[in-house]
């Protein structure tokens, strides 16, 4: 089953002092995950690591919730197994209106829940941490993007993330595209009233919105973006520089 899970954390919305309190972060991290935070994550402050781990757990939860509809989110049951910094050109791996700087960094690794092992990508900037998980360390046909919006109230976040996604889907699909929620609560795209059968994940926090979707089920997307090698895999840019690639009508 192909799924997708993503998440974004706005760092300015979190209480730094509180995050650094062992009583607080021990509710998010296992002792093993605290140990994982070591010298090779030099570009990451501990506070950022805590929220990256949180974000990865949320992404993994969202991925698996499609498979296991009764699943409830319990952060300590999702365990980050490996994490390493990847050396890539950011502007080629993620879309949206964001210019990456030297303060930003990209990570890849694995996260586990029970017997399920998922692969992830995560980005840290001074403002936010975003993550995305996939079944394999292969992110072909996955689009992932982050955008800053004009405010942080729920209505703006909710409409902002949908409009952001729709603006990208309009470059891939023709016709009338709308996003609705299915009965479990997942976003689903419809084309002229018909379900487009590919998984979408949305997230918003503070002034940031992010989406990810996986088009493997509806066919290969033409490789139009820049493909960037990262540690053990590739992420491709779809967003921002994606030309119209025609209609994908038959799921």
């Amino acid at each position: 089953m192909i799924s997708i899970g993503n998440d974004i954390v706005s760092l300015s919305s979190m209480d730094r002092q509180r995050t650094l309190d062992p009583r607080y972060y021990s509710k998010i991290l296992s002792t093993g995950e605290v140990r994982l935070f070591s010298d090779h994550l030099a570009a990451l402050e501990f506070e950022q690591y805590v929220w990256m781990a949180w974000s990865l757990k949320e992404s993994a939860y969202k991925y698996l919730k499609r498979k296991i509809p009764v699943l409830e989110f319990s952060p300590t049951k999702f365990v980050v197994q490996t994490i390493s910094e990847a050396d890539v050109d950011f502007n080629s791996i993620i879309g949206g209106d964001w210019t990456f700087s030297d303060d930003d960094s990209l990570y890849s690794g694995k996260i586990k829940f029970d017997s399920n092992v998922l692969h992830f990508r995560a980005i840290k900037t001074p403002q936010w941490i975003a993550s995305m998980v996939n079944l394999n360390d292969d992110f072909r046909n996955v689009s992932w993007a982050v955008q800053e919006i004009d405010g942080d109230n729920h209505e703006l976040q909710s409409s902002g993330v949908r409009n952001f996604l729709l603006s990208e889907l309009a470059d891939i699909f023709t016709g009338d595209i709308v996003i609705r929620k299915d009965k479990v609560g997942y976003p689903v795209a419809f084309q002229n009233g018909e379900v487009l059968d590919f998984p979408i994940s949305l997230s918003h926090h503070g002034r940031y919105v992010s989406y990810a979707f996986n088009l493997s089920m509806v066919g290969d997307l033409p490789m139009v973006g820049v493909v960037t090698e990262t540690t053990g895999g590739t992420i491709r840019a779809l967003v921002g520089d994606l030309p119209t690639v025609g209609v994908i009508t038959e799921p």
């Binding site: 954390v9 509710k27 998010i28 929220w51 949320e58 989110f73 952060p75 300590t76 729920h154 609560g185």
Partner: protein, 85 residues
């Protein structure tokens, strides 16, 4: 401590984390913190820590998944209070 009292106190605990004050005032045991009150899930740890401080109990993260609904949160707090009593 009865459930109504805990529910009333939980409103105060959750207040800093939701912008939807009308829905907060009208919560029931069925209310879902994330879906109904639009509380960001990253604030769940804050709510758990605040509840721990308020009731002087320890809430393990195994219980956290039950804290998503108001009724579940009341269950957890009552159980912890009974343990320490």
């Amino acid at each position: 401590m009865d459930r109504e009292t805990i529910l009333a106190e939980l409103k105060k605990v959750m207040a800093p984390y939701t912008e939807n004050k009308e829905k907060l005032a009208a919560i029931t045991e069925e209310t879902d913190l994330i879906k109904d009150l639009n509380i960001n899930s990253s604030n769940l740890v804050d709510i758990i820590i605040d509840a721990e401080t308020k009731y002087n109990v320890e809430i393990d993260m195994e219980s956290s998944e039950r804290m998503i609904r108001v009724g579940g949160a009341i269950d957890v707090i009552q159980e912890k209070l009974n343990k320490t009593a």
